[in-house]
């Protein structure tokens, strides 16, 4: 018999894990949702960022500080990768989607091989005062690392939403998603705008990667676990919606948690993806898409 207390805990933990899902998906929400780039390497970039966080951790940096330190390098990495993708595929037009998928699949594979050769295949962990400890609220004990995930997800969502709504560059990014040619009329270069946006997306992925290292151990092939989940969150949210991504992450996390508690863990992934299919059947534009 499922107690109210257990159900309440399932809701709380599901929402917290959902925040984590949102934080690791938000970069993809920009790259795939707004820019229409088939960024299959997103999860590989997450793992790369997790390893960079681990590397900085070996020099004594807190994972959250490490996340800030790798922001700029990841921004430039994203800008370079997009430029290459644009010159080699997008500019030429035809079959961009399929060839783009192949390109990013290749990038993901290269990242994985690089990590395997550089760091070996053993799992890597970071340490911080908020990993392995918990906050007690009555009978409930909530891991601090999940509370960190909540804060990071909310911070990223609010920050990116404000950036996209309130700044000229942010509005240009939203505009390029709708009509790249119209953007030229106001004197903005759509290619440079998309390059900038992809840099922002990759920088957001760097923060997600640091969070990944905080939540669980990392290994070079970990991207396989996240590739489906992150695309699921982005599509469920509605392409390009930042607050929608947070909401979709929470919906996914809560659904998984409730299903796990009531029916068993093996059902959780199937029900989560079933939910995605259901939503797409009713609202093809996603829960928060227009």
């Amino acid at each position: 018999m499922l107690s109210i207390e257990l159900l309440l805990e399932a809701l709380v933990f599901g929402a917290l894990v959902g925040c984590f899902y949102a934080a690791v998906s938000i970069g993809l929400s920009i790259a795939f949702g707004l820019l229409d780039v088939p960024h299959i390497a997103h999860a590989a970039f997450l793992v790369l960022a997790a390893y960079m966080t681990y590397l900085l951790g070996t020099y004594g940096f807190d994972p959250l500080v490490a996340a800030l330190l790798i922001l700029v390098p990841f921004f430039f990495l994203g800008a370079i990768v997009y430029r290459f993708y644009y010159e080699a595929f997008e500019k030429r037009g035809a079959d961009t989607g399929v060839r783009g998928i192949a390109f990013f699949f290749g990038v993901a594979f290269m990242v994985q091989v690089f990590l395997s050769m550089t760091f070996g295949l053993d799992q890597r962990n970071v340490s911080a005062p908020y990993i392995g400890t918990s906050l007690g609220i009555g009978e409930m004990r909530i891991p601090w690392r999940l509370i960190v995930a909540l804060c990071v997800a909310v911070g990223l969502t609010v920050g990116l939403r404000l950036y996209l709504l309130r700044t000229f560059q942010g509005r240009a990014i939203r505009a390029v998603a709708h009509d790249a040619w119209a953007l030229r009329i106001i004197g903005a270069d759509p290619v440079r705008t998309k390059q900038w946006a992809f840099g922002i997306a990759t920088a957001a992925t760097a923060i997600g990667g640091a969070l990944l290292a905080i939540i669980s151990p990392v290994e070079p092939s970990l991207d396989r676990v996240y590739i489906g989940r992150t695309f699921c969150v982005v599509v469920l949210a509605g392409l390009g919606s930042m607050s929608g991504t947070l909401a979709a992450g929470i919906i996914l996390g809560v659904t998984e948690s409730i299903v796990l508690t009531m029916f068993g863990a093996s059902w959780a992934p199937a029900v989560a993806f079933g939910l995605l299919l259901l939503v797409l059947g009713i609202r093809p534009q996603g829960l928060f898409g227009r």
Binding site: D122, Q123, G132, S216, A265, A268
Partner: protein, 418 residues
């Protein structure tokens, strides 16, 4: 004059070769090729790379001792990516194209099981390395496994005997939804049933599980006396971490059992003091009762080589067994003066082999006649120090009796000092 000089040159070359050949010690015959495949990439690559390094060390050692039958030993290794789809093709190639003389099975259960029909059909001697019930369906009479377990009872029976010794009545099961963990889970459930234990919680989780908080909460709510976990390395870290964060409840006397990963340096270093009190299976720990001849010297050498090869530096779990797989072939070849599969198989059926993982005899099914999986309990573990795991007294053997080096501390809360 010219012919005379040419003859002198040729004589010189022959004499030179004559001087060189005795120095290497090799006969004129070609090297003895030992073929195998390893998971050098893919999900089992952590163990596969250890295994490759250990076998390489064995080949170097045996060549330094003069090779086999005076012939140099040459390893022929392919990356099987831990894929059962790859291994039959690789082993066909090893036999038909590379013309290897001797075979060692792939590292890991699933890749090795896929080779068994080929080995049986072509009457090939196959030495196993860290596989579980690989021969249960093929029933090949030339299979000689090199793993310290035979069936689920031999693997986790010690855990349940410990549970009974501290009066356990209620058990919770948590297992990964993957073949190995499910096999172990099935065996563990049978043992629990035979012992008359009540199952108060059972959960199988998918390998993509990110956080284990929900499961640990549910276990705590079920108030078991004992928790049996069959997990893989990343899950093991997540589960132990969640237990530390959320708590498992004061009723739990025993926690662990079948957790893969708690034998690896990177995992143990990451978890540190969170490991205290956990009871888990192991194949080798540096306790005095397991000081088999040559193993400590091997592990010291392995640790140095492992750093350069970027593999697990402790190497307790897999590496000694891979090295011993080579030793099994070495002893059989030296004793029979033959490299014929049937002759070697006949020798191994009838004789005990001495290796760095101890003396080995095989049963009719090709598994160890006397399995010796040990249950260890982590004690006095500090954070962030991998070297402590090389010391005695950190991973106390609590089962079986013949290897026991300390008493079980229960319940878990007491063992963790809380």
């Amino acid at each position: 004059m010219w012919n005379h000089t040419k003859r002198d040159v040729l004589r010189g070359i022959v004499l030179g070769l004559g001087l060189v050949l005795p120095q290497t010690g090799w006969t004129q015959e070609p090297p003895i090729k030992v073929g195998t495949s390893m998971a050098l990439s893919g999900p089992l690559a952590g163990g596969g790379r250890q295994s490759q390094l250990a076998l390489q060390m064995w080949a170097e050692d045996v060549n330094a001792r003069g090779g086999l039958l005076g012939r140099k030993v040459e390893l022929v290794t392919y990356d099987d990516q831990a894929s059962p789809a790859q291994t039959p093709g690789i082993f066909s190639k090893l036999v038909d194209l590379d013309k290897v003389n001797l075979l060692i099975a792939p590292y890991g259960t699933v890749p090795a099981a896929a080779v068994m029909p080929l080995a049986k059909e072509r009457r090939l001697l196959l030495i196993g390395q860290i596989g579980y019930q690989v021969n249960s369906k093929a029933k090949h009479d030339m299979w000689f496994n090199n793993s310290p377990w035979s069936d689920a009872e031999s693997w986790v029976g010690g855990y349940f005997r410990l549970g009974q010794s501290v009066g356990v009545k209620k058990v919770a099961f948590l297992a990964s939804d993957q073949e190995f963990a499910q096999n172990i889970l099935a065996g563990a459930k049978k043992l629990a049933q035979n012992a008359g234990l009540e199952t108060v919680y059972e959960q199988t989780y998918p390998p993509t599980t990110v956080d284990f908080s929900s499961m640990v909460r549910a276990i705590r709510a079920a108030s078991p006396d004992m928790v049996f976990v069959a997990s893989y390395p990343a899950d093991s870290t997540g589960i132990i971490r969640s237990v530390n964060e959320i708590g498992i409840g004061s009723s739990v006397k025993l926690f662990g059992g079948g957790m893969v990963g708690l034998q690896y340096a990177s995992v143990m270093q990451a978890l540190g003091s969170q490991l205290n009190g956990v009871v888990n299976y192991h194949t080798y720990v540096p306790e005095k009762t397991m000081a088999f001849p040559g193993i400590r010297e091997f592990l010291e050498r392995f640790a140095k080589r492992a750093v350069a090869a970027n593999v697990e530096t402790l190497g307790y779990y897999v590496a000694p067994f891979s090295y011993a797989s080579g030793q099994i072939l070495e002893q059989a070849v030296n004793a029979t003066k033959s490299i014929k599969d049937d002759v070697l198989a006949d020798y191994l059926r009838k004789n005990e082999v001495n290796t760095i993982v101890g003396p080995i005899r095989w049963g009719a099914d090709g598994e160890w006649a006397e399995p010796r999986v040990v249950m260890i309990q982590f004690k006095d573990i500090k954070d962030g120090n991998v070297e402590q795991f090389r010391q005695e007294g950190k991973q106390i053997i609590v089962e079986p009796e013949r290897f026991r080096t300390g008493d079980l501390t229960a319940p878990l809360s007491k063992a963790r000092g809380r």
